[in-house]
Structure formats: C-alpha cells, structure tokens
Amino acid sequence: MNLTFSPEEQAFRAQVRRFLADALPGDIRERVRLGRHLRADDHLRWQNILSAQGWLAANWPTEHGGPGWGPVERHIFDEECAAAHAPTVVPFGVNMVAPVIMKFGSPEQQQHYLPRILSNQDWWCQGYSEPGAGSDLAGLNTRAVREGDHYIVNGQKTWTTLGQHANMLFCLVRTNPDAKKQAGISFLLIDMQSPGITVRPIITLDGAHEVNEVFLDNVRVPVENRVGEEGQGWTCAKFLLTHERTGIAGLGHAKQALRHLKSLASRIEHRGKPLLALPSFRLRVVKAELELMALEVTNLRVIAATRDGGAPGAESSLLKVRGSELRQELSELTRRALGPAALPFFPDFLHGDAPLDDANAQSASASAQYFNRRKLSIYGGANEIQKSIVAKTILEM
C-alpha cells in the first residue's frame, strides 16, 4: 500500500494550479474568499472559462465532451479549486441531470441537452423534495396526468437551489397514484418558462436567497421530455443520488477551511498570545486536524476503489456523515476564533453588492456560513438517513 500520488498525478495537480492562478478572475476569487454569494453572472463567467478549457464536465466521458479524467484527477481538481477559492460548479446540470440523461435518456435527448449543458446554455435546477416529502423522497405528491402528447403537472417542489436563475427543471412526478410508492414515479424535464410555473424565494437563516419553492399549476410538459419509461423515475432518482453523494464529503473545502482557521487563530490574539495557544481552542483544532487526516485517507480509499472498477457504495454515506460533521465543526471554530468580530451581520454585503470596510469584510461571512453549513448534515439525505443506509446496506440490519 502507498498513499503517494504518481509523478503524472502530481504534474496534473501543478497544471490545474497554474490554470487556476491564470484563469480565475480576481473579483470572483475575492467574492468566494470572503464568503459572499455569487451572482448568476459570476457563475456563468467562471463556467464559460472552464468550458473553454474543456474542464467543465469533470465527470463526463470523452465521447460526450468530458476531459476523460479518472476519480484521482477529479479529486485533485476539486481540491485545487477549493484551495484557489474557485466557485463550485453549479452541479444540477453537469453533475446531476447529465449522467441520468446519458444513462436513461433517448439519443434525441442526449443530442439536445448534453451540448447545451456543456456550453452553459441551460441552467438546470432540481425538483425532488416537496413540502411533504423530504428524506422520505418517494412520498412525493406532484401529479402528472397524461393528456395526449402531454403530461399535465400539478404540485409543489421545494429546496430548489438557485432555481431563480434556472431555465430548466428536472422533476420527479407521480404518474400512477395506484402503484406502490416508488413504482408510480416518472422523471420529467420541464422548461421553466412554461405557463403555470411560479418560483418563490425561501430566505434561509443566514439571510441568503439560495433555495426556492417551485409551484406547478397545470403545467403542460411534452411526453418526449420524460426520461426513461413511465414509472421508471425512481431508478433515475436513485442513480442520480449516488452521483450527488460522490464528492459530497467536501474534503477540498474542509482542507481550505482548516488552513484558514489555523492561519486566523495564529494571527488573532487572546490575552497577548495567539488564540491558537489557548489550550481549549487548540485541542479542538488538533482534533479537527486528526479527523481531516482520517477522512482524507478514507476518501482516497474510496477513490482508489472507484478507479479500480468498484462503485461508490455505502462508503459515500460514511464520507458524507463525517465530512459534514467536520465542516460544521470548522465553521463553528472559525466563528469562535473571530469572537466579537463575528457578531455584525451585513446581508447587503454578503448577498448583494453593497460595499463594506475591509476590517468588517474579512470577517463578515463567518456567522452566516456557520448557519449556512447546518445544511450539510440535512441535504443529500440527512445524516440520520445515511446511518440508516449504512445499517441496511453494509450491516444488513
């Protein structure tokens, strides 16, 4: 066994690092570094740069225009992006619906949608959760009734991330209310411009407009926009969720957050000494360091298994649980490190374009991010759900 990257992999890392240093616009880097929300245009500018480089669709095979990277390259790329304060690629198109279209979509759907994702022409959002169906996703009630060449869709979706910018929605709908829970679901691609769609913002506890409610009121969707067979939606949904959980440990982000925390805590003074010398604080940083070391090796184990032909299975649940816990702890420690400086809340600066003096700007996002990071143990299947998945699939309880 060895834990070292090959010379080729190290050269790849250097190449990614050089690219990020040259190509990432300074204003975007600064917005990410300060924890400010990105505008739609910021996302698009960066994703167009990645697209031109051929690196937008990191997970895609070359036949569809991906760079042909393996799991190791993807891991290195993610890690370097986080370290460079590059925006996370909006995943709903390129990382979520695209693999479903590749696996279950018709040739026409593939030819139409995949190039548009690759060129950032379409902005996708996700219609999964409903007010009555969160972790129990299969309990969804949005109805689609066939009427000739169309489905008439009625219902409500929620937690639709960045839906305010999207022009396309992939959506789980119930096409057969009489079939058993999972069997009556279909997977539809819906144009957000369709009459009957209303998007309403949900403001989260950090003041951000990141998620939305989407109301569907007699929305007409052409039958050709169904992916896979009618009633096969749950298969697509499960397939998509395994992709959603890949890389969900957010290790690159955790590493960056720990680096930032250590640097902060050695500059901030507590009674004339660096905060990092305060034993109770230092111990928590040390424990976070250990957890990160363990998580990194576990992540490499999963990556190596995937590279050697295994499928990411329940280990991704493990990574999700421990990774989210670690990132939450790091956001807590960062907030504590700043102390009183973490108290002021500047929503117009964080979520808009309002200016702010430099001293406040440097610490403005800490509390908002701490509250925002609570989502990590809730989304993508709450950590309790993950534990039940491990209990069922690995431990067969």
């Binding site: 066994m1 363990a294 493990l318 421990r322």
Partner: protein
C-alpha cells in the same frame, strides 16, 4: 496511490487468518493464557516456521524485509483473534532495537535465536512516575573498568516472564541514554510478575546493583533508535487494534441480529442501528489512520512521528469508544467474563494505554501542529 495487497500479502493474510481461526478459539486462548510462559508455545513455533518472525526485520539482519503493509496484515490478524502471543512486546520492539544497535556478536547471540523462535525478549523502557515518557529514565548505569553496574526499577514490562533477556534503558554518566541486555536470572534482578487488565503477562523489574560485562551494553546513545522503534511499535499496535475493533464490531452486530427483546431482534431498533453504525464509522476512520501509520514508517522521522502520533491518538479514542459500545450493546452479557466481546473491550482499552495513550499523542500532534 494504492490500497491493494500483493498476491503474497493476500496469501499471508489468508494463511494467518486460517491459522488463528484454527488454533485460537476462546477456549484455546484461555488455555494458552493459563499455560506456563517460559517455553515458546506451539503457535509461536508455527509462526517461526511460516517466517512470520522474520517478516518485520531487514534482510541485513537475517529478516525477510517486510514493509509496513506486511506488518499491518500480521498485526490485524493477531488482533482479530486476540492472539495471546507477545508479537510486539517480545519480538518486534526488542528485536528491532537489537537490529539497530547490536554488534554482530550481540546479534548472533540474541537476535538470530529470536527470529528462529528459540527465545523471546522483553523491552523495559517505562519507569514509575514517568507515565509514557521513554526519556524520563532514572535507572542508572555506571561504568567501572570493563563492567557496568545498573540500579533502578522498570515498570509494566510486557512479556517479562517469558523473556530470555531484557533490554533495559538506563541513564549513563554522560547524560545520554544507554541500552543494556540483561539475561534472565542475572544476580541483582528481581521480578514482580502480574497480568495486565487484558490478561497479558507483564511485571516490574527491579535492578539492585546489577553487574554486567561490557558486551551486554548494546548502545551508549540509544535515543534515536528508541524513537524509531517506538514509532514502529505504535504503528503495529494501531493495526492490532483495527483487527480487535473489527471483531468487536462483528460480534456486536451478530448479537444484535440474534438477541430478541419485545418480540423483535435488537437489530430492528433504530437507536441501536445508529449506535452500531457509529461503531462502524469509528472503525473505518481508524482503519484509514492505521494505514496512514503503517505506510509512514519509511518517511523522515519528524513526518513519520507526527502521522503515527495522530494515528495512535485517533485509534486510541476509537478503540475506547468501540469497547464501551460493544459492552453496552451486549447489555448485561457484555459485563461477564464468559462473554468473548468483553475480552476484546479490555484489549482495546489496554491498547489505548500501551506505548502512550491518546492524550499523550494528542500533545505530540498539538506541539507539532503546522500552521502554514
């Protein structure tokens, strides 16, 4: 980056797992623990025949030149079976110190028979009141012409009873740390034998003006070699603990599936499922740390010691967690001598203490924490 085992390593793992399953059932283990300790056991002789005793030593001293992964495979299998043989205390620690310090005459006398399974040794590095600090040594060695005279006391020496000789650290007049080999029965030595909390044979060793010829001095400056050997021992112990954690988890899971309360198997209760998953998460994260430790042995000393301290601290806490949960989930049964998992629990708690507990190693990580 590669986590796969070679064909030879897979064979080693299979052979050893089979051997342990055949020869170390709970009843056989009890009998081995109760047997007289002086002569090497049948199992130890089998280890010798299989080359397991040669594995962790370099070819230069007659070993097989196994690496950290080989050591990990061996230790994990031994930990899984809770094998009552002093592989670390009686072979790896003293043997590696001999390999690093002994001259060829001393190696022929002490190391060669060790690798052949003809005798075992013990390392006396710990002193009363010094907790886990291997350098807080007050045992003294003073040289008179061609002889050394040693006085002091060493605590909790594992494998003391079975050892043919003891490797003893002592402070020299130069202020440096010396290393001596004392054959069992040397006049001036007295042994206070006992068992540790997990039934391992151990004892205190008192040296009352022990006289030794110069040929029994292995080193007049053993610090660096001692640091190397303790690092090796800690990595090996982490792997041993992984084996024991695996088995404690497996036995607990089997019990939850088997035992019924309120008309249902315990495994159907979500509170218990999630506890079981937490044990599993601790195990898998610790396995990663043990891999980190065992693949760090060839790194420069600073980097190696940082990673191994991190691993020992992490695995120590997980071991205690898994031990406590295993007892809790077995309910009243887990409290009994008869319940096999209780012995794993004791071994896992012992592991945390042995060669420095998690507080000791957390301090090392804390002292060397990089801020860059």
């Amino acid at each position: 980056m590669d986590f796969a085992l070679t064909d030879e390593q897979r064979m080693l793992e299979e052979t050893l797992t089979r051997l342990v399953a055949d020869q170390v059932s709970p009843t056989q283990r009890r009998a081995m623990l109760d047997a007289p300790r002086q002569a090497p056991s049948t199992l130890w002789r089998t280890f010798a025949e299989l080359g397991l005793l040669h594995m962790p030593f370099s070819e230069a001293v007659g070993g097989l030149g196994g690496d950290g992964t080989d050591l990990m495979i061996i230790m994990q299998a031994l930990g899984r079976g809770l094998v009552p043989e002093a592989y670390v205390a009686g072979l790896v620690l003293p043997g590696q110190l001999l390999a690093l310090t002994a001259n060829s005459v001393q190696q022929t006398r002490w190391l060669a028979p060790l690798l052949e399974g003809e005798h075992q040794l013990a390392l006396a590095w710990q002193e009363h009141g010094a907790r886990y600090d291997a350098f807080a040594v007050s045992t003294q060695a003073i040289k008179h012409n061609v002889q050394w005279r040693l006085t002091g006391r060493k605590d909790v020496v594992l494998n003391l009873e079975a050892a043919a000789a003891y490797l003893v650290t002592a402070r020299l007049e130069s202020g440096k740390l010396g290393l001596f080999i004392l054959p069992a029965g040397t006049p001036g030595l007295s042994l206070h034998l006992y068992r540790t909390m997990d039934d391992q044979a151990a004892g205190d060793l008192t040296l009352d003006d022990v006289t030794l010829p110069d040929e029994n001095c292995l080193s007049e400056d053993v610090s660096e070699a001692l640091i190397d050997v303790l690092a090796l021992g800690r990595a090996a112990l982490c792997a041993d603990a992984i084996g024991a954690m695996e088995e404690a988890c497996d036995q607990t899971l089997a019990y939850l599936k088997d035992r019924k309360q309120f008309g249902l198997p315990l495994a159907t209760f979500q509170a218990l499922q999630h506890r079981m998953v937490d044990m599993h998460l601790h195990l898998e994260q610790s396995r990663s740390m043990a891999i980190l430790a065992c693949t760090s042995l060839s790194l420069p000393a600073d980097e190696r010691d940082y990673k191994i301290a991190a691993a020992k601290a992490y695995c120590g806490e997980s071991a205690r967690f898994i031990a406590e949960q295993a007892i809790q989930l077995h309910g009243g049964m887990g409290m009994t001598e008869e319940c096999h998992v209780a012995h794993y629990a004791k071994h896992l708690v012992m592991f945390d203490h042995y060669l420095g507990d998690s507080d000791y190693h957390l301090e090392t990580v804390s002292d060397q924490l990089s801020v860059a």
